[in-house]
Symmetry: C2
Subunit: 534 residues, 2 copies
C-alpha cells in the first residue's frame, strides 16, 4: 500500500461528518424518537432512512461534492430531513433566512451559485419570490405539509423525492475538512457574508455542547427559534448527536409551547427573553406541569433581572443560562451559567466553553488582562473555514492567529466575560469612547421607552455624535428634552446623546436586533445643519 493510499485510508477511517451523526445515533438508538413535528414522529432509524433517501435523490440529479443546495424553510421535520440528506450526499447546505426580502434572497442564491432550493410551499406561493426563482432557473424542491396538494409548475415535492430511493447510507467519500454549509450572517452591520463551515468545525461545537449542556439520551428539546440560524441548528444537532429527542415548531405561540412542554416532558429550551416572558405571563402557565424542564437557554439579549427572578421561581428552578456565539465561531462559544446569573449585573457572557479558548485583544494583537476592554477573540476547532468568496474579510477575521468577533468585552476580576459592545458600535466622540450599549441601558430605564438603538452619526464638531433612536411604549409620551434630561442624570456629559430621534418602529433583523446600519445610512446627514450643537 503506497503512502498516499495509507493516508487516504486514514482520512476515511478517522473522518467525522454531520450526516454520520444521524447514522451513528441510528445504529445505537434505532427505535428512540429522534424528531417530532406535530403529529409526525420519526425514530432515529426512520430519520436515517429518510435522509439517506433524500441524499440518493440529490446524487441521482447529477449533483456532486461541493454543489450548493439552498433552503428557504421554517422549522419542520421535512427541513431537518432535507439538510441531513444534503450533508450525507456530500453537498453544501445554504440555509436562507425566510424573512429576507426577495432581493436579499436573490443575492444569496447568486453569490452561492445554488442550483437547487428546498422551499416551503407557503413561501413559494409568493408570486414575486416564485418569479425570481424561475428567472434564475433554480430547481425547486417544495416542502408541502403531509395531506396537502403540491403546487403546480416545474417543482418536485420533497416527499416525492424520497419515493423509490434506497434507505441505506450512500457511499460518498466525505472528508472531515470538507465544506458542509454556508450560512449567510444576519446583517446587523451591513451586507450578508457567507460563513463557510466544514463537517469537522460544526461537529467540534456539537461535541462541546454535549458537555456544556450535560446532554443525555433522555433529554428532549422544543425548537422554535429558526434552524436556519446557527444557535437553534447547533442545539438541534447536539441533541441528535446525544440520541435525545428534537421537537420542532414553526412559530412561537406561548400556550402551545406550554402544552408541548408538559405533554413531551421537555427538559431543555432555547428561546429569546421575550418568549420566556410571554410563557410566564400566559394564563395556562400556573396549571401546566413544567417540572421536566431542567435548563433554559436564552440568546441574543440579556434578561431583565426581575423577569429572571420570576422565571427561576415559577418556570424553571433548574436555572437559566445565556449561550453566546456567532455563525463564524460555531456556538456555543461562551455561556453565562445558572449559578452566575443572579450574582452579576450587566450584559455578561460568562465563561468560554470547553470547545474554544477566549481572550481579549487590543488593535495591535496584544492579549489584555482582566479588567481591560478590547475585542473578544477566540480560537478553537469550531472556527469557520472563512467567508465565501471574500479572502480579505477572512484574513481580517484571522488577524494575529485568533478569530476576531467584532465584539468588545472584558473579563472581570473573577474571569467572567462581560460584553461591552459591538466593536463598530463603540462611538468615538470628542476624543472619548462611548459604548452605545451603556447609553441604551440608560434610555431603557426611562418609563416611557420601549425600544432603543444608539449610534454615532457624523458631526462637524464631535466627529461622531451620540444619537439615540427611541420607540415609545404604546400608551406613553415623552419629548426629546425629557429623555435627554433623564440621560443627564445617569451619564457623563460626553455620553449624553446629542439628539434623540423618536421612531414609530425600529428597523430590525428577523431575530430582533436593531439594524443600526440602516439608521446610520438614513440619518447620515442628521447633523449637517447643526454645527455648533452641543
Amino acid at each position: 500500500m503506497s503512502e498516499a493510499t495509507q493516508e487516504a485510508q486514514y482520512r476515511r477511517i478517522s473522518r467525522v461528518s454531520l450526516g454520520g451523526i444521524i447514522h451513528r445515533s441510528a445504529l445505537r438508538w434505532p427505535d428512540k424518537t429522534a424528531l417530532v413535528d406535530g403529529a409526525l414522529e420519526f425514530s432515529y432509524a426512520e430519520l436515517d432512512r429518510r435522509s439517506n433517501a433524500f441524499a440518493h435523490y440529490l446524487l441521482a440529479q447529477g449533483l456532486s461534492r461541493g454543489a450548493r443546495i439552498a433552503m428557504l424553510c421554517g422549522n419542520s421535520a421535512q427541513m431537518v430531513t432535507a439538510f441531513i440528506g444534503i450533508y450525507k450526499a456530500g453537498l453544501v447546505w445554504v440555509p436562507i433566512n425566510t424573512g429576507l426580502a426577495v432581493d436579499a434572497v436573490r443575492y444569496i442564491l447568486e453569490h452561492a451559485e445554488a442550483t437547487h432550493v428546498v422551499i416551503d410551499a407557503e413561501l413559494l406561493a409568493k408570486p414575486e419570490l416564485r418569479a425570481m426563482l424561475d428567472a434564475l432557473g433554480t430547481r425547486i424542491i417544495v416542502c408541502v405539509p403531509e395531506g396537502q396538494v403540491a403546487p403546480g409548475g416545474n417543482t418536485t415535492a420533497f416527499l416525492d423525492t424520497l419515493k423509490g430511493q434506497h434507505g441505506t447510507l450512500p457511499e460518498v467519500d466525505i472528508e472531515s475538512g470538507q465544506l458542509a454549509q454556508i450560512m449567510y450572517t444576519s446583517g446587523t452591520t451591513g451586507q450578508q457574508k457567507g460563513v463557510m463551515h466544514s463537517h469537522a468545525s460544526v461537529h467540534a461545537a456539537l461535541s462541546g455542547n454535549l458537555f456544556e449542556l450535560g446532554l443525555r439520551p433522555s433529554d428532549s428539546t422544543l425548537c422554535v427559534l429558526p434552524m436556519f440560524h446557527c444557535a437553534q441548528h447547533a442545539v438541534s444537532m447536539s441533541f441528535l448527536l446525544a440520541g435525545a429527542t428534537v421537537v420542532v415548531r414553526r412559530a412561537f405561540e406561548p400556550g402551545a409551547m406550554l402544552a408541548t412542554i408538559e405533554q413531551r416532558g421537555i427538559t431543555l429550551l432555547l428561546g429569546l427573553p421575550i418568549m420566556y416572558g410571554a410563557m410566564l405571563a400566559h394564563p395556562a402557565r400556573p396549571t401546566t406541569k413544567l417540572s421536566s424542564l431542567r435548563l433554559c437557554l436564552y440568546v441574543m439579549a440579556p434578561m431583565a433581572r426581575t423577569l429572571l427572578v420570576d422565571l427561576i421561581e415559577k418556570f424553571c428552578p433548574g436555572g437559566f443560562a445565556l449561550a453566546s456565539g456567532q455563525t463564524e465561531m460555531y456556538p456555543a462559544t461562551t455561556m453565562f451559567k445558572p449559578e452566575q446569573q443572579l450574582k452579576r449585573f450587566g450584559s455578561y457572557w460568562g465563561e468560554s466553553v470547553v470547545t474554544n479558548e477566549t481572550a481579549i485583544m487590543d488593535d495591535e494583537g496584544r492579549l489584555l488582562g482582566r479588567g481591560e476592554v478590547g475585542e473578544i477573540v477566540h480560537r478553537g476547532p469550531n472556527v469557520m473555514l472563512g467567508y465565501y468568496k471574500d479572502p480579505e474579510a477572512t484574513a481580517r477575521a484571522r488577524a494575529f492567529g485568533w478569530h476576531h468577533t467584532g465584539d468588545l468585552g472584558m473579563f472581570d476580576a473573577d474571569g467572567q466575560l462581560l460584553f461591552v459592545d459591538r466593536k463598530k458600535d463603540m462611538i468615538k466622540t470628542g476624543g472619548e469612547n462611548v459604548p452605545s450599549i451603556k447609553v441604551e441601558e440608560v434610555l431603557l430605564r426611562h418609563p416611557a421607552v420601549l425600544q432603543v438603538a444608539v449610534v454615532g452619526l457624523p458631526h462637524p464638531r464631535w466627529s461622531e455624535a451620540v444619537t439615540g433612536f427611541v420607540v415609545l411604549k404604546p400608551a406613553a409620551s415623552a419629548t426629546e428634552a425629557d429623555i435627554i434630561a433623564h440621560c443627564r442624570q445617569h451619564l457623563g456629559g460626553f455620553e449624553v446623546p446629542k439628539s434623540i430621534v423618536l421612531l414609530g418602529a425600529m428597523p430590525q433583523t428577523t431575530t430582533g436586533k436593531a439594524q443600526k446600519f440602516v439608521l446610520r445610512q438614513q440619518y447620515a446627514r442628521h447633523y449637517e445643519d447643526v454645527s455648533g450643537a452641543t
Copy 2:
C-alpha cells in the same frame, strides 16, 4: 495574505492540542483542584504553570518537534506534570510499562529512538536498568518524591528542571494532526508495537468520554490503574478536560482506596473486577461512606454476576459499566452500560460510544448482520495514526476502510456487542472453530480452578488441539482427568480440551491478561509424541 498563509492561520486557530486542554481548563477554573497526590494538591493554574515550566526546560535542551521522550513512571503528580509538559513542548510522549523486563525496555527505547527518559527514582535504583540506560546514553530526568534526595550520577531531578523556567505557555506551533504519543501495546499476542496517536485523535476520544461518562466539573476520580496504559490515561485526561479532579495513587491497597473515596468524595472509579472485589471484602468497607460514588468503570475482564450484584447493593448503587477499547482506537470505544449489566450473560461489551462507529466484518470485508460472528471493526477520529515504523501492520489494521481490532464479536438481537474471542484465540480444530473463551468459561466453573488460559497447540491429527492451562486454588486439588470429565459435561466433543496442563502460576501481562503467546511458544511441541490422542 497568500492562500498558504491563510491556510496556516486557519490551522493555527482551529487546532486542538493535549497540552491545550490543561491551559484552557486553567483559564476557566484556575483555582479548582486539578491533581492530588498524597498530601500534594495542585490547582489548574498551578498544574498549568508547572507543566509549562517543564515544556520550557525540554525546549531549552534543544529538543524540537517530533523528538521522543520516554517515560518509566508509576502514577504520580510528577508523572502527570511531565507528560503534559511533553505535549506542550510539541514533543512525543513514549510511556513504557514499568513492569517490563530490561530487554523489553531497551527494545522500546531503541525502536522509538528516545533521547531522554523521565524515570522514577525507585526504578532507576535497579542496577541492570540503570546500566542499560547509561549504555544507551539516554539522558535521565528522575522523579524523586518531594523531600527525598536525588540519586547521583549524570541525572537531573524532575523538580529541578522546573526551577527558573517561565510559567507561561510556550509558543510552539502544534498542529492537531501532529504525533503526540507512541504507546507500546502490552504484548498479549507477541512483539511490542508502537501505537502512534496525534493530539486530535486522543482529543476526540476524550470529548466522547465527557458525554459517555456524563462528566461535570464537580466530579473526581481516583486513578490507580497505571497511566502508561491508555485506559487510565484516557480517563484522567477526560477529567482534566472537564475541569474535574484527578487523585493519583501508585499502588492498589483496598483500605487506602476506601479512605480516599470517603475523604475526597470520589464520584467515579476505574478498576479491575478483582479490585472491586477486594474493596467490597475489606473490613473497613461497611463503615466507609461511599455515597459520593455515582459510577464505577471496570476494564479488561468481565465481572462475575454474584460479585456484581453484591457491588451494586453494597458499593455503588449508581451502577457499574464495562468500558472497552484498545490503544489503537483510543478508549472508550464501547461501553456495557449499567442498565444493561444484569440483563445479559456472557462477555458483553455493550454499545459503540458516540466517538466512533462499530461493526462486525468478515475476512472479505463484508459487514455482517446481527447474530453473525466476525471481527470487531471501528471507524472514528480516535483511530491511531498507525504503528510506528511498521507500515505493513498499519495497512493490515486499515483493511477495507475500517480499523481492525483483532477481536471477534457479534451484535445480539438488541444491538448489544458480545465479545467472542481474540481473533487469534479462535482455535481451528478438526475443521471446527472453537472460541477459547467458551472453554475457559467452562473450566472456571470447576470448583478447584482459579485461573485458566485455553490455546490451540499444533497437533498432528487435529491441526490445532484445544489445550487448557489451569492454576488451581491454593487449597484445592484436581487431576487432569477430573477436569476433562467436567468439560465433557458442558462442551461439545470437539470443544473438550485434548489435554489440561496444571501450572503453578500463569504467565501474564502487568494488567492481568494471560500471555497466551508465551504458552504457545513454551508448549509448541506438547503434542509431538502423542499422535493418535483423541
